[in-house]
């Protein structure tokens, strides 16, 4: 079949089963957009900024568990998309971003809207391509999707010069791909698995350290079975929230800087850590030399470079988490006695009783944590939650009752403010039967506020809940704790009228200063079926606690803060 490069892009997306593409046109990618206009494979959603297009594709991918796609043009279109690529890269999210480029004949001449896109994206993608021959395009497109979704998933960027999208070539779309140089290892070495089971059987105080890989691998089913079978207590990273149901008796919450006391003590006192798709981020480990220092470490990960990167590991298992855990389960049955871990679980429960995760509620002001809990009680697993970055993000991770995997979607690794609203749009397109809630802050929401227009135009009823404390809250908190309250550039008292702002875009807005107003507004927002924005005035100086100060030890948490 003879097709133009632009037609090849459309045809490939059709064959990959893509139903939604986010993007923003421009000169260098116009040939592709001309074919978008003519096709019926997918819906194209016009965002109002390229960064948002990539975040939306990212949110779509995370919620759906499949590849998200975005189109951007050359030059500034592409550079705007870079934050989106980096966000997806740090959290191992499979997306394919296709950018236009100036014609091959003009590359290197500093042409209008020319930038070395593959040079820029190289360090924040799993792989990238500059297409120089239209006949290579079908194979590159197939490879891009294959690489994005296999192994440790990640973003792939394809840069296509304008003349390539115009040229005609033979379109042969490969059915499958086999690359000599890229062969992820999916099955754990049986001998290593056997040794792991021996280590678990010998241990008295094992702990499961669940990371984002549990989501990427869609491994929650076997992981939940593993936990119920063995009775080994588990802790989750930010990226792994929802791996276990929030009320699971063996789940001791999130660990790390704003983790629960019990979770951090579990890590500190464990004699065996089973790291599952986690990567020992500095926000998790605190001071490395003190991190889990009594524990032997088993590390299961599909990416060998994650193993031994930060800490030395006693037993590495390279493989897909789903497969490795599935392999372990039948062999555990007669080797592991659930009762033997009971005293350890009891100890952790006691820790949880001594210092439970909590906050002091108030009748005078709305506490931000109350808002999260209230939404949790109202919507529970009917909602998929996205966040921006900062205090509200941590409170959401701490207090929202997550029942399912892929229910909590947040920028963990890169910590990208402005992620929430566009990601929430992607979520809603991926899971139309769910309510898409975006918790944001008065700082973050303004970083992609233009996307209210996209949401209204494309009828994507995202509900944004701004925990408004008139501060860049997390930085303000650090200034309070560590910088003698010198609030340099964190006071956000100057604000737009968020209600009018939402209305001006064609959405609905609510300002909430009491709990009653909030509950009512939430109800109205859900009923409206419209793009909504709730401006919730919360306690200005509330802090995220407990906290392990940067470089501190997990067992020495700051449990409260007294002036």
């Amino acid at each position: 079949m003879q097709l133009s490069g632009a037609q090849m892009v459309i045809e490939a997306l059709g064959r990959e089963g893509i139903k939604t593409v986010f993007g923003y046109p421009g000169g260098a990618i116009m040939n592709v957009y001309d074919e978008v206009y003519k096709q019926n494979y997918f819906e194209h959603i016009l965002t109002r900024h390229e960064q948002a297009a990539v975040h939306a594709a990212d949110g779509y991918a995370r919620a759906k568990g499949d590849v998200g796609v975005a189109f951007v043009t050359s030059g500034p279109g592409f550079t705007n998309a870079v934050t989106g690529l980096a966000t997806a890269y740090m959290d191992s999210v499979p997306i394919v971003v296709i950018s236009g480029q100036v014609p091959i004949t003009m590359i290197g001449t500093d042409a209008f809207q020319e930038i070395d896109a593959v040079g820029i994206s190289r360090s924040c993608v799993k792989h990238n391509y500059l297409v120089k021959d239209v006949n290579e395009l079908p194979k590159i497109l197939k490879e891009a999707f294959y690489i994005a979704r296999t192994g440790r998933p990640g973003p792939v960027h394809i840069d296509i010069p304008k003349d390539v999208t115009a040229q005609i070539g033979e379109f042969v779309y490969p059915k499958s791909i086999k690359l000599k140089t890229y062969k992820p290892n999916y099955n754990g070495n049986p001998r290593q698995i056997k040794k792991a089971i021996e280590l678990i059987a010998e241990s008295k105080r094992p702990v499961l350290y669940l990371g984002g890989g549990v989501m990427s691998s869609s491994a929650t089913k076997p992981v939940r079975e593993f936990v119920q079978l063995t009775g080994i207590p588990a802790v989750e990273t930010l990226m792994a929230r929802g791996s276990l149901c929030y009320d699971n008796e063996y789940l001791f919450g999130m660990l790390g800087m704003h983790g629960s006391y019990a979770a951090n003590m579990a890590m500190s006192e464990a004699d065996l850590m089973i790291a599952v798709g986690a990567r020992f981020d500095d926000r998790v480990t605190g001071k490395l030399s003190e991190f889990a220092k009594h524990a032997k470490i088993i590390h299961i990960d599909i990416d060998p470079s994650s193993i031994g990167k930060i800490v030395d590991v006693d037993l590495p298992i390279v493989g897909d988490i789903k497969n490795v855990i599935k392999d372990m389960i039948p062999r555990m049955k007669d080797k592991i006695k659930k009762e033997s871990f009971a005293p350890w679980v009891e100890l952790l429960k006691r820790y949880d009783e001594i210092h439970p995760l909590g906050f002091e509620d108030s009748d005078e002001v709305i506490k931000p944590q109350w808002v999260i809990k209230r939404v949790g009680e109202t919507l529970g697993d009917k909602a998929i939650i996205t966040t921006d970055v900062g205090q509200h993000q941590m409170w959401t991770a701490q207090f929202y009752p997550f029942t399912n995997p892929r229910q909590f979607i947040t920028s963990g690794g890169l910590g990208t403010m402005g992620f929430g609203l566009p990601a929430a749009m992607g979520v809603k397109k991926a899971k139309e039967d769910k309510i898409s809630i975006n918790f944001s802050g008065d700082g973050s929401i303004l970083m992609n506020i233009q996307e209210l227009m996209t949401a209204v135009e494309s009828k994507i009823p995202v509900i944004n809940i701004i925990l408004n404390n008139n501060f860049l809250g997390m930085v303000r908190q650090w200034q309070t704790f560590f910088y003698d309250k010198r609030y340099a550039s964190t006071d956000l008292s100057m604000q737009p009228d968020f209600v009018k702002l939402a209305e001006s875009f064609g959405g609905v807005g609510f300002r909430c200063t009491t709990k009653e107003e909030f509950s009512e507004a939430l109800e109205k927002a859900i009923q409206s079926g419209k793009v909504a924005l709730l401006d919730v005035v919360v306690d200005r100086l509330e802090n995220v606690l407990p906290m392990v100060p940067s470089g501190g030890t997990l067992y020495n948490m700051m449990l409260d803060f007294k002036e």
Partner: protein, 156 residues
């Protein structure tokens, strides 16, 4: 952890941009490249990178894993029994007194690679240390220019 010198041989697909992927990996993660030699592997779609680097155990392990993680990487060879050679070209002015040059060239298996109206170019190919010694020995002939290549290595 002590830093050691390591020679790493990387077989990669010989395609557009692969050098920047490898160089970028080293730059972005703060690893150091002491020398780098690249050439196509004859009759194949691959190129061989011979990289000399320094680092402690953990750094070297990460370098190997990160190199392997690059999509075009076929094979990463390290720590095997390598025969390793470097080469150097040295340009000497004919105005110098070449007393003893023949003996030095003989000792290092060196040759005269080229000669002009006012200079000669001598060359050697040898172990890294011996190339260093040779260059030192050349200093008394007032070299105009010295070009030293990176390592090439082959498993025994």
């Amino acid at each position: 952890m002590a830093e050691t010198r390591r020679v790493i041989s990387v077989i990669v697909l010989n395609e557009h941009g692969v050098l920047s992927r490898i160089a970028g990996l080293f730059a972005g993660r703060g690893y150091n490249i002491e020398s780098l030699t690249v050439a196509p592997v004859p009759q194949s779609e691959f190129s061989r990178f011979t990289i000399v680097t320094r680092g402690n155990e953990r750094v070297i392990e990460q370098i190997l894993k990160q190199l392997h993680k690059l999509i075009p990487t076929y094979k990463v060879i390290e720590n095997s029994d390598f025969v390793e050679k470097e080469m150097a070209l040295v340009k000497l002015p004919l105005s110098s007194d070449f007393n003893g040059l023949d003996a030095i060239l003989k000792a290092f298996n060196g040759t005269v690679a080229n000669a002009g109206s006012d200079f000669i170019i001598v060359m050697i190919a040898d172990d890294s240390d011996r190339v260093g010694h040779f260059i030192k020995a050349m200093s008394k002939y007032n070299p105009i220019d010295i070009v030293r290549g990176g390592s090439v290595a082959m498993e025994r």
